[in-house]
């Protein structure tokens, strides 16, 4: 079983549209949406949820107002500015925890002389294991404004791998998040291969080089394809040179195609939509990707 992760550095280059198109072309894969902040793959794969689980991760401090003496030790030790001084209706000084600021380190919990601070587990989102017309999909929804998306990413990957092993599927195809931080690191570490979807713009070039530095840092074999290549063919050519100098294999160029948006509006993969000049190139990317895996 091989794990292939599709990432981009920059957002909006076409990761999800490509992953969905690959899903329709694959014969024997499990799909995982690791962009848990803003997951979209389900809009095209239209899953039927088989199993649903609350995702708990870490803890958060919660002060019991009746026990708080207002000494302020918690506030003085907190590095995240998560404790707020409040005055109640009787004029007593006490502290409360700002949940978006609390990172759940537990230092205040341990140092409170009144033992007034509880430390319950934090629910950060929901994990789904689903079936789709192309195969199983593991996806998640992060609670709005929640923390720990890297840990939820790891869980989505772990579950997708488990399903792939149980059903003896050859691939786990992962739709990754944008950026190079915690969720991306959680998506790519230990994967067999990364496909970076780049776009031929100065921003795209800048972001591709940073994300390639990351895959190199973690020693993951990297492929690059350029989407919307005809927006700027010179930039596309330059990006291909820069990427291959850094050890990436270059796959096809995919042209800008309004049919990609039209397919998305219909809730279909590009192959099901069956139109547009990008389609043949997307198929070619998939075939080369599979070839690479066979080697």
């Amino acid at each position: 079983m091989k794990e292939i992760v599709i990432i981009s550095g920059k957002g909006g280059t076409g990761k999800t549209s490509l992953t969905a198109a690959f899903a329709a072309l694959s014969r024997n894969a499990v799909f995982a949406d690791c962009d848990v902040d803003a997951a979209d793959l389900h809009l095209i794969l239209r899953p039927e949820v088989v199993e649903e689980r609350a995702f708990k991760s870490g803890n958060e401090a919660r002060i019991q107002p009746e026990l708080c003496s207002g000494c302020g030790i918690c506030s003085s030790v907190c590095r995240f500015g998560a404790l707020r001084k409040k005055c109640d209706t009787l004029g007593r000084i006490g502290y409360t925890v700002e949940p978006f600021a609390c990172e759940g380190c537990g230092l205040c919990v341990r140092l409170c002389p009144e033992q007034a601070i509880l430390f319950p587990e934090r629910t950060c989102g929901t994990l789904f294991i689903s079936s789709t017309r192309f195969g199983p999909l593991v996806h998640a929804r992060l609670t709005a404004a929640a923390e720990n998306s890297g840990k939820l990413v790891s869980l989505v990957r772990k579950e997708a791998k488990r399903v792939a092993e149980e059903e003896r599927r050859a691939f786990v195809l992962i739709d990754g998040p944008p950026g190079i931080g915690c969720p991306v690191i959680a998506s790519v570490t230990g994967a067999d291969r990364v496909l970076v979807v780049a776009e031929p713009t100065l921003s795209g070039e800048h972001d591709l080089l940073r994300v390639m530095e990351l895959t190199r840092h973690f020693g993951i074999r990297t492929l690059v394809c350029i989407n919307k290549a005809d927006i700027n063919e010179d930039a596309a050519a330059r990006i291909e040179i820069l990427a291959s100098e850094r050890g990436a294999d270059i796959l096809e160029r995919i042209p800008y195609d309004e049919e990609v948006t039209a397919a998305q509006v219909r809730g279909l993969t590009l192959g099901e939509h069956g139109k547009g000049k990008a389609l043949a190139r997307v198929r070619a990317v998939w075939e080369r990707l599979i070839q690479h895996e066979a080697e």
């Binding site: 981009s8 979209d40 140092l111 709005a144 944008p178 776009e199 713009t201 700027n232 948006t261 509006v265």
Partner: protein, 306 residues
């Protein structure tokens, strides 16, 4: 005034909107690029004479002579950044949140903090725009300390525009907190709509006022417009899809540089944002005045004297 430009989905045009708003400000603006994982504003602003400063985070280090391998630090760490199973602690700086718990709680006082580079802050100016942007060190997982460092550069008296990272989790929250209004940039597609609903939910949870800008407004479908109407969300502006804009973007040029009428569109947007922020501030003042019952506002007092 502080305006944050955010979106759930990546690639909808946050940077384009943020940079264009900064350039539309007649009295100049400070632009803070908080998308420290993949900052792009500098490509469009091209600031002159950049100065840089490293961002450090404190990370624990064990004094081998004092450590008795009791394993308490590993127990205390909530982020799996310390492994100590009755051994000298093994510390993973890239997972450390710098909370300081292990250092403070080590019974032997054997841990102390040393500074580790998490990223860099760069600042420079071109024309009337002062740009400050952060870059997360590649391989470092935690973007938040670098975002915090960029956020410290909020201008006191001039307009500040914040270019936020995509998503709905901690980096976005740190980037938007403390701003007067959030501009959510989206595109009129099913992905754009879905991620907009998540961004709206996030803004409502943290209680910040927001408006929507629809970019490439003539592609896709009517879903975003209908959603905004249903939810009573103000659409501040719609920016048309134009191949000239896309090609200019690919060369690091803003839409206003190639399609002049777009520049005035952003000037109007900025004007509308200022008016809206003023209204919100006045409303907040009114609430404050009503809450402090019995207390007469300063201005009224002096009027009474007269």
């Amino acid at each position: 005034m502080i305006v944050a430009v955010a979106s759930g989905k990546g690639g909808t045009g946050k940077t384009t909107v943020a940079v264009s708003l900064a350039l539309a400000a007649e009295d100049g603006a400070r632009l803070l690029d908080c998308d420290v994982e993949e900052p792009n504003s500098h490509i469009f602003i091209r600031p002159e004479s950049l100065s840089s400063e490293e961002v450090f985070v404190p990370v624990p280090r064990a004094d081998e002579d004092l450590c008795t391998a009791c394993g308490f630090c590993g127990e205390v760490c909530s982020f799996n950044a310390i492994v100590s199973l009755k051994t000298k602690p093994l510390i993973f700086p890239e997972l450390c949140h710098s909370c300081g718990a292990c250092v403070r709680l080590c019974p032997q006082g054997a841990l102390h903090e040393q500074r580790v580079v998490a990223g860099e802050i760069l600042s420079g100016k071109r024309g009337s725009v002062e740009l400050v942007y952060g870059t997360l060190k590649v391989g470092h997982a935690m973007a938040v300390p670098v975002i915090r460092a960029v956020k410290q550069q909020v201008a006191k008296d001039t307009l500040t525009i914040i270019d936020c990272p995509p998503g709905t989790s901690c980096p976005v929250i740190r980037a938007v907190e403390g701003c007067d209004i959030v501009v959510l940039v989206t595109e009129p597609t099913p992905f754009g709509l879905h991620d907009l609903t998540l961004a709206v939910e996030t803004m409502r949870v943290i209680g910040l006022p927001f408006v929507v800008v629809i970019n490439r407004c003539d592609i896709g479908d009517r879903g975003v417009a209908e959603y905004c109407e249903r939810e009573g969300i103000e659409i501040l502006a719609s920016v048309p899809n134009d191949r000239r804009i896309a090609e200019a973007y690919s060369r690091g040029k803003t839409p206003g540089a190639v399609v002049p009428e777009i520049h005035s569109l952003f000037q109007d947007m900025l004007q509308a944002l200022m008016e809206r922020a003023n209204l919100t501030m006045r409303a907040a003042l009114l609430v404050k005045t009503t809450l402090s019952a019995g207390e007469i506002p300063q201005q009224q007092k002096s009027e009474e004297k007269e």
